[in-house]
């Protein structure tokens, strides 16, 4: 007779907990999306179907500016953090172990451990001094700050991919007359592709979503989409916020789908 395996689905109440979990996860999002199509002004009372909040958001110059800013920052932060993270991952996996390599691992992942509000205040003070000294008020501060806290999110998937990669491929490339740079360019990088893509997308989404550090670091008139929406809280909330959130959600879903398709094709 076959041995009876432990199956978690046999525990009493499994179905209830499972359903409750999914409801908790998706009901708020469903409500958000539904009310983005509300004809009335309320985010809580349904008054019929309409697309005019999307139209309002689309025509709102403040929203357009915030979106553009968010995208510029997220793209720059994703590119910079992924580049740095790739180099860091190479440096921490493609060499002999050395004293203090655990410390370096911790140091790279610092943004995951230090409370974000602490970093936010620290950056505000530091950048305040730099702004004072240089007079530069541009988006550079936000890009720099976002790049920094996105590094661990880009680093972890790239490192995971590198650790799973057979070192003998790079050895073979070197054996076949490839210089270290050619080996990286023709072997490591192509094989690392899915990991880098995953890291970059994660970094992009994390940057797009950030409120706390952005709120503290931004100069006047530098609202990103999330801080703009936060600002709206202080006035009367309209389903415009729902519409913007739904658009962000759609963007994220599209990105994740592209990523899924790309990585699956490569396997």
């Amino acid at each position: 007779m076959a041995e009876r395996r432990f199956e978690i689905s046999r525990i009493p109440g499994f179905a209830t907990v499972a359903v409750a979990t999914f409801v908790m996860l998706y009901l708020p999002i469903a409500a958000l999306v539904t009310y983005s199509f509300n004809a009335g002004n309320s985010v809580a009372v349904w008054e019929g179907f309409s697309l005019h909040w999307y139209q309002d958001a689309w025509n709102n110059q403040a929203v357009k500016d915030a979106t553009a800013r968010s995208l510029i920052i997220a793209v720059c932060a994703a590119v910079i953090s992924t580049t740095v993270a790739t180099l860091a991952a190479m440096g921490t996996t493609r060499r002999a172990r050395f004293r203090g390599d655990t410390f370096i691992y911790v140091a790279i992942n610092q943004p995951l451990m230090v409370p974000e509000i602490v970093t936010a205040v620290a950056l505000m003070i530091l950048f305040g001094m730099v702004k004072e000294a240089t007079g530069y008020q541009g988006l550079g501060y936000l890009i720099l700050a976002h790049s920094a806290f996105c590094i661990p999110f880009a680093y972890l998937p790239i490192r995971a991919r590198l650790e799973g990669m057979d070192l003998s491929l790079e050895t073979a490339a070197g054996d076949l007359y490839a210089t270290p740079w050619q080996t990286f360019r023709h072997v490591t990088l192509p094989l690392l592709g899915p990991g880098i893509l995953a890291g970059a997308m994660l970094a992009f989404v994390i940057s797009l979503d950030d409120v706390i550090i952005t709120e503290f670091v931004k100069s006047g008139g530098q609202d990103t989409l999330p801080t703009y929406m936060l600002g709206q809280l202080r006035r009367t909330m309209t389903p415009e916020v729902n519409a913007i959130s739904t658009a962000l959600l759609a963007l994220t879903v599209v990105l994740l789908t592209i990523f899924f398709l790309l990585t699956r094709k490569r396997e």
Binding site: D166, S168, L169, T171, A172, A173, G174, D175, L176, Y177, A178, T179, Q182, H186, V187, P190, L191
Partner: protein, 354 residues
């Protein structure tokens, strides 16, 4: 005739670890490998054969000692600047490239013109009989085909030396036999020096021009397959290659005296306690009491098909195995319990110093 030396290792030492935990994977090895020969490094796992190969390839730097290629010191050159290519045990084919791109990789990295790369790739694929697979990804190939791609890839840049790190160990027996013949053919056709690493003594004996037997980081013996088999220099080499009998003995004038008191005529310069070694196929079974024969009793027979191993005990219990050809019909070997005499074929017995 002195043949040109292609690869030479001088007093190569490779130590791993630090402080009290130093392991000498390679312990003062000096070896000369001749131009155009099929040289095999043979030994059990952990004997240092792969370490020596990696030093020649440039994947590891020796702790001390030098590696020379055609007389020039290449010890400090990185792998990509040595005209030496490797066939890896795991093949290490690039999964993101096609078969043709894999084979052309070395030439492309050297910056050769595209037309030359293509011509050479076609030539190599023809050599290993894989032309129809040129556009495939390597993951779509069988183990044997991947092995051929690895070979073609390593041979394409026309290296001075080809290093092969147990390349046949992942193949099943039938395919392994085919590839042995194939490798020998490729080596003859290309004229490139092959350095082949294996722990399989049969593979070493059938394929090599010369064999270097290694154990515990040291080179035990270098010689032709026949020299290694018939004239092993020590107990390790004698027992690692083929099967053999070991008989404790002491040196007496004109030969050695076995523990049974029988004297075997054999030339030796050794003194005192030694070991006499005789291959089972050199042990002849004769009638009991025959003049000059050593008395023995048959214990049991092991049937191998073409021949039968007859296990016997000498008067003092020392075991001796004789290999006899199996008869076409009737019982193989000699009936258990029979008293017999044994002789050693002339020149077959050899003295090993303990």
């Amino acid at each position: 005739m002195t043949e040109a030396v292609t690869i030479e290792a001088r007093n190569a030492v490779k130590a791993f670890g630090q402080g009290d935990h130093v392991v000498r994977a390679l312990d003062d090895v000096s070896i000369q490998i001749r131009k155009g020969e099929f040289f095999t490094l043979l030994g059990p796992s952990g004997c240092g054969k792969t370490t020596l190969l990696r030093l020649i390839a440039g994947f590891e730097m020796p702790t001390s000692g030098t590696i020379l290629l055609d007389g020039a010191d290449i010890t400090d050159l990185p792998p990509n600047r040595r005209p030496v290519n490797t066939v890896f045990q795991s093949y290490a084919l690039f999964p993101h490239l096609t078969v043709a791109e894999n084979v052309g990789f070395g030439l492309t990295m050297q910056g050769r013109p595209k037309a030359e790369v293509k011509a050479r790739v076609d030539q190599m694929l023809a050599l290993v009989k894989l032309e129809p697979m040129a556009g495939r990804k390597t993951s779509q190939l069988s183990g044997g085909q991947q092995q051929r791609v690895a070979l073609a890839r390593a041979l394409a840049p026309q290296p001075k030396v080809l290093l092969l790190d147990e390349p046949l160990s992942a193949l099943d027996l039938k395919l392994r036999k085919e590839m042995q013949v194939e490798l020998k053919r490729l080596q003859t056709e290309t004229g490139i020096t092959f350095i082949f690493v294996t722990h399989d003594q049969e593979e070493a004996l059938t394929m090599s021009d010369r064999i270097g037997v290694m154990s515990a980081g040291k080179l035990q013996q270098v010689g032709s397959p026949k020299e290694i088999y018939t004239r092993p220099v020590n107990r390790f080499v004698a027992s690692f290659i083929g099967e053999t009998n070991f008989l404790p003995a002491t040196v007496v004038p004109g030969g050695v005296k076995l523990s049974t008191g029988d004297v075997v005529e054999v030339a030796t310069a050794a003194q005192g306690t030694v070991t006499l070694t005789v291959r089972p196929e050199q042990v002849r079974i004769v009638g009991a009491g025959e003049a000059g024969a050593i008395a023995a009793r048959v214990k049991f027979n092991v049937y191998f098909g073409t021949d039968t191993h007859c296990h016997m005990a000498l008067a003092d219990g020392t075991e001796v195995v004789a290999r006899v050809q199996s008869p076409a019909s009737g019982e193989a070997g000699v009936v258990e319990g029979t008293d017999v005499g044994i002789r050693f074929a002339p020149g077959a017995a050899q003295v090993l110093e303990d």
